[in-house]
Symmetry: C2
Subunit: 150 residues, 2 copies
């Protein structure tokens, strides 16, 4: 199914929104016997071209990653708003915000999901790639993230 | 770390609580180009020995599984109450209820997590094994499930 549909069903990442990333990262490291990861901050809007529902946003996030088997657990602490991360935290509290997939062909994948009534929420760039969150919550019970390294 | 701590940091399953498992399973199958899985129902309390915070409960759940890479996505529709699944649905709506790990030595693992202020919420048996949910929500942002095949 590489040439049609989403092109993958391999979950590569679980994204967890938290209020205090340094605290939560330390607890994960302690409980699972792992190193405390570095905390990074997403790029500013002029670099990341961050858009929420089509409109540029200054919101950013602190991120930290734990490799847990074949899946990366991403901790996310929202900085500022509006963002899909902050909206999730306000609505649900801490918890799993998304499951992520590595895809090829972002525009085609987003058009495919839109045809399934799963529209894009937020998108942007990171060093080496681009991401998009799509609103799977009403139909799939969870937001999906598409990651494309370029 | 097989002999101490939790003994694993490999996420093997993501558990998603939904309101209508047949509907959600069909949408996942359609979006990701997979077969619609069979829906199974957890055993009754006399067989599964289901306990919520130490007290027997008659609550059950419908389950369906999608293999998505090295991770199994478990859809869960609560039937009756009280259960950790129904509590999550009432409090948060649909969403990711837990991340799961295959462990060896349930009692030792639960004692370890309890020593980290992560107490057991619900436990029970299934054909071929046993499970326990522990309350990672306050410290880890998400419930953990321990699975032990016996």
């Amino acid at each position: 199914m590489a040439e049609k549909g989403l092109g993958t069903n391999v979950i590569c990442q679980i994204g967890l929104v938290v209020r205090d990333i340094e605290r939560t990262a330390k607890i994960y490291a302690d409980v699972f016997g792992m190193d405390v990861p570095n905390v990074i901050i997403t790029d500013t809007e002029d670099v990341a071209h961050t858009k929420l529902r089509g409109a540029p946003t200054q919101a950013r996030a602190k991120l930290a990653f734990f490799q847990m088997g074949n899946v990366s657990l991403e901790l996310i602490e929202p900085i500022g708003e509006p963002s899909t991360w902050k909206e999730f935290l306000d609505e649900h509290g801490e918890g799993v915000h998304h499951i992520a997939f590595q895809i090829k062909g972002m525009d085609r994948a987003l058009a495919y999901l839109d045809s399934k009534d799963i529209p894009v929420i937020q998108r942007g760039d990171y060093t080496g790639g681009r991401y998009a969150y799509v609103d799977g919550a009403p139909s799939l019970g969870v937001v999906l993230e598409l990651l494309e390294n370029v």
